[in-house]
Symmetry: C2
DNA sequence: TGTGTTGTTTGATTGTTATCGAACTGTCGT
DNA sequence: ACGACAGTTCGATAACAATCAAACAACACA
């Protein structure tokens, strides 16, 4: 999780996805100056970390931020460092 | 900050420091199976990120977790992702 | 003043990761 | 069935990060 959040580009992607309830993959490809392959790679990482979920609709793919996972992470961080 | 928190060893060091109000550098060196150089490197990163502060006392050095910085980070994360 | 201890810096090595382009897979509309 | 579009996967490359060992600097004490 921390690893997934450590790349600025990935966080930017995550933030973009967070601006809407659901965010189309294709829009990420147009709005970020990176190749499709790279987007796909980052999405895979975010999925693996449980930070987003995806939904397929025909040939399109939509992403959604898992806000509870993020909340769980921040809580864990606070707990571990006893703030 | 996120970068600083993305390395497991560094988080472990941070946690160790967090177990006491102040933690001597030398104890980190004895309790973690890494060289002095590596410890020094990680401390530099944690300092740079504002996650710890250090205090010199003669030839010894002590570290202290900056809990408010961590709180600020988690808050920022929550805010940015509108949880 | 010298010796041991503490921590920093440096250079080399090694592993990881972000990125691209290209090849590939799957889905849609015609 | 075919051509266009959406994503994935792969191979290569380049940048970065963790680590060590060794050289170094600073301090303490005898």
């Amino acid at each position: 999780m921390a690893k997934a959040l450590s790349d600025p580009r990935r966080v930017a992607l995550l933030e973009a996805i967070g601006t809407a309830d659901e965010y189309p993959c294709q829009r990420l490809c147009t709005e970020f100056p990176v190749s499709k392959g790279t987007i796909s790679h980052h999405m895979k990482e975010l999925l693996r970390a449980g930070l987003i979920r995806s939904r397929q609709e025909g040939q399109y793919k939509f992403f959604k931020v898992c806000r509870d996972t993020i909340a769980a992470y921040t809580n864990e961080l606070m707990r571990r460092l006893a703030v």
